[in-house]
């Protein structure tokens, strides 16, 4: 029976169900035990499954990821949490040099079915180091799957799939959407992990988003519709590997594309999206693929983050720069592209 569930609760339920179904799943990290995590995503798990299945570790991210590598080598399915995105950085060597490479190194003899959960992104008024978006570091690293849900049902389904995956998954949780609710009946299975989905159909332009920006993208599409512009919104869901088929098909249809993310533009994930779509859809493009991203500055303090984060207005501005053949009027373009 469908009921209103938040992303945070859906993730919690996914961990719960994974622990219940598979004894090889263990959940650990900083404050994930009795406290239930600083965002309560692991709430109640220690109480229900015991200290043996969900527990607090010493405070050391490289150690957390490194021990998870060892557990996964042994056949467990560890799910570890980096408390905030920036605090995953101490583990970066483990992630790049081992998590991503162990299968390759051993020609498939050692696989690492592990999940690194990372609450990421801003918009929560967090002080320095609490609002970063590091997806570009992870997605540039072959061997990792990088997944990020935008909705509670995807949160549940993608996390279950990530835990079941034979490959290591960096699971990026858009922390400002933890409290976003949706009517859904859990357990639920949504589209498979490596598939992007069209969240809203449109004819005139494709807006590509993921994680925290999906909701913003949908809002922007709504606003654009009010001005007569029909925008298709694609939610990537999995950042690596990239679902070229779905996204390129949309862009070929609309002929215009904007990609949006919170991370800084320069060398950001949106560059890859823009570059590969341009390679694949060049003759369908009426305008360059535009990026609406965070500024190329360190993440600002809370009171200035609004200047940094892409919002509806900046997305609408980007639509304006898509080199329409005619001026837009309030009732839409004089000539609509097929």
């Amino acid at each position: 029976m469908a009921e209103s569930t938040t992303l945070g609760k859906a993730l919690n339920r996914a961990l719960h169900d994974a622990l219940a179904e598979d004894p090889s799943v263990v959940v650990y990290g900083e404050d994930v035990g009795p406290l239930g995590g600083v965002f309560r995503v692991t709430d109640g798990l220690t109480a229900e499954f015991g200290e043996d299945r969900c527990f607090d570790s010493p405070l050391a991210e490289s150690g957390i990821v490194g021990t998870a590598v060892g557990m996964a080598m042994y056949g467990l399915r560890p799910v570890v949490e980096m408390q905030f995105d920036a605090f995953g950085l101490p583990a970066f060597e483990q992630v790049v040099s081992h998590v991503a490479k162990m299968r390759n190194r051993t020609r498939g003899r050692l696989e690492l079915p592990m999940v690194i959960r990372v609450p990421y992104g801003g918009g929560i008024g967090g002080v320095e180091h609490h609002s970063d978006s590091s997806e570009a570091y992870y997605t540039h690293t072959p061997g990792l799957r990088v997944v990020t849900p935008a909705t509670p049902s995807d949160g549940y389904s993608l996390l279950r799939e990530a835990i079941g995956s034979p490959d290591p998954v960096v699971f990026l949780e858009p922390k400002r959407r933890y409290w976003a609710a949706e009517e859904t009946a859990l357990p639920v299975r949504t589209e498979p992990m490596d598939r992007a989905v069209v969240r809203r159909a449109g004819r005139d332009a494709t807006l590509i988003a993921y994680g925290p920006m999906t909701a913003t993208a949908l809002e922007a599409a709504d606003a654009a519709a009010g001005e007569g512009l029909s925008v298709e919104v694609v939610d990537l869901r999995t950042l690596s590997p990239f679902d070229d088929a779905t996204v390129a098909a949309s862009v070929r249809r609309t002929g215009r594309a904007v990609v949006v993310h919170e991370a800084s533009a320069f060398g950001g994930y949106g560059a890859e999206v823009a570059a590969r779509l341009t390679e694949q859809c060049f003759h369908h493009l009426e305008a360059p693929v535009l990026r609406v991203c965070g500024l190329d500055v360190p993440y600002p303090p809370p009171k200035l983050e609004e200047y940094h984060l892409p919002g509806v207005d900046r997305i609408l501005d980007a639509f304006d720069r898509l080199q329409w053949e005619r001026e837009w009027t309030s009732t839409g373009p004089a000539e609509v592209r097929g």
Partner: protein, 367 residues
Amino acid sequence: MKPSRTAHATAQAPPLPSAEPIALVDRTGRRTGQSALAGPDQDVLTELLRGMVVGRRFDRQAGALARQGRLAVYPSSRGQEACQVGAALALGGRDWLFPTYRDSVALVTRGVDPVEVLTLLRGNWHSGYDPHRHRCAPQCTPLATSAPHAVGLAWAARRAGEEAAALVLMGDGATSEGDAHEAFNFAAVWRAPVVFLVQNNQWAISVPVHKQSAAPTLAHKAVGYGMPGLHVDGNDAAAVYAAVGGALQAARAGAGPALIEARTYRMDPHTNSDDPGRYRDPADDRYWAERDPVDRLEALLRAEGAVDDAAMERFAAEGERLAARVRERMAAEDDLSPGDLFEHVYASVPEHLRRQREDLSAAFGED
């Protein structure tokens, strides 16, 4: 550079830290008479008490501002005043302080403008004060990461012939991080004038210290680096002051680094948004309330006649004035400069940021 064939086996092992923390003043406010540390004189003790009373008031004010939503968050120092005030007062004028997010009271004690101390938590900028002015590094959030900074800075100061040391504040949880280890080790190998003060407040958010370490004390970590380790009562400002002061002096004199564990307790939640009811026993709070650092020093100084009601009222009034000033200035309009976002990324603003700045002012129709 001829390495000895038996190189490191010749180093002397410093004595082991004591399992029980060294106190100069016990929890009832009596001098313990122990002799491992030289006790500070009454003037210093009075300063310590004054600092703690004022610091606690500041801390309470900041907590209130956080509850009112005027600070994004506030990690309280309540219960840890002996550590923070003791440490800050032990610093010499040329020494450097490397504080964490929790060490606002240490910064206020060091003389930094309290409103500038709160800039980070208020959300106006990442740090509000000029680090050079009071020789205080910005408050550090990524755990243990400022420890190697202190080592590098102290090494550079000694190389420049300055008689200065650096004091690193860190929590019990932070000792688990790789950076703590690397900093301890670089300091010891380089004999850098650094003192590491671990405020073991028993908790790293919700994780108790026995899940961080299986060592007899955190001070025992010093042994593995070949530096002295000292375990002191962190609710005894006299002991903290004496231990930190002694170690700083030795460091300045070229004796190398030291690690001090101060055993204390975080009386409040981790921050105002934390819920300790989920993970700790209120009995612990009571246990530690009986060991309050302010009460204890007040009892001693009253018993010894160094302070009286009038003095205590003076300290309280000073705290109230400071709190009022903070309230007032925090009520003022925010002084926000979005343009600063671009200004301080590089020494000069590169072309692409200039364009982004223009776009931004176009969009927000200002600056």
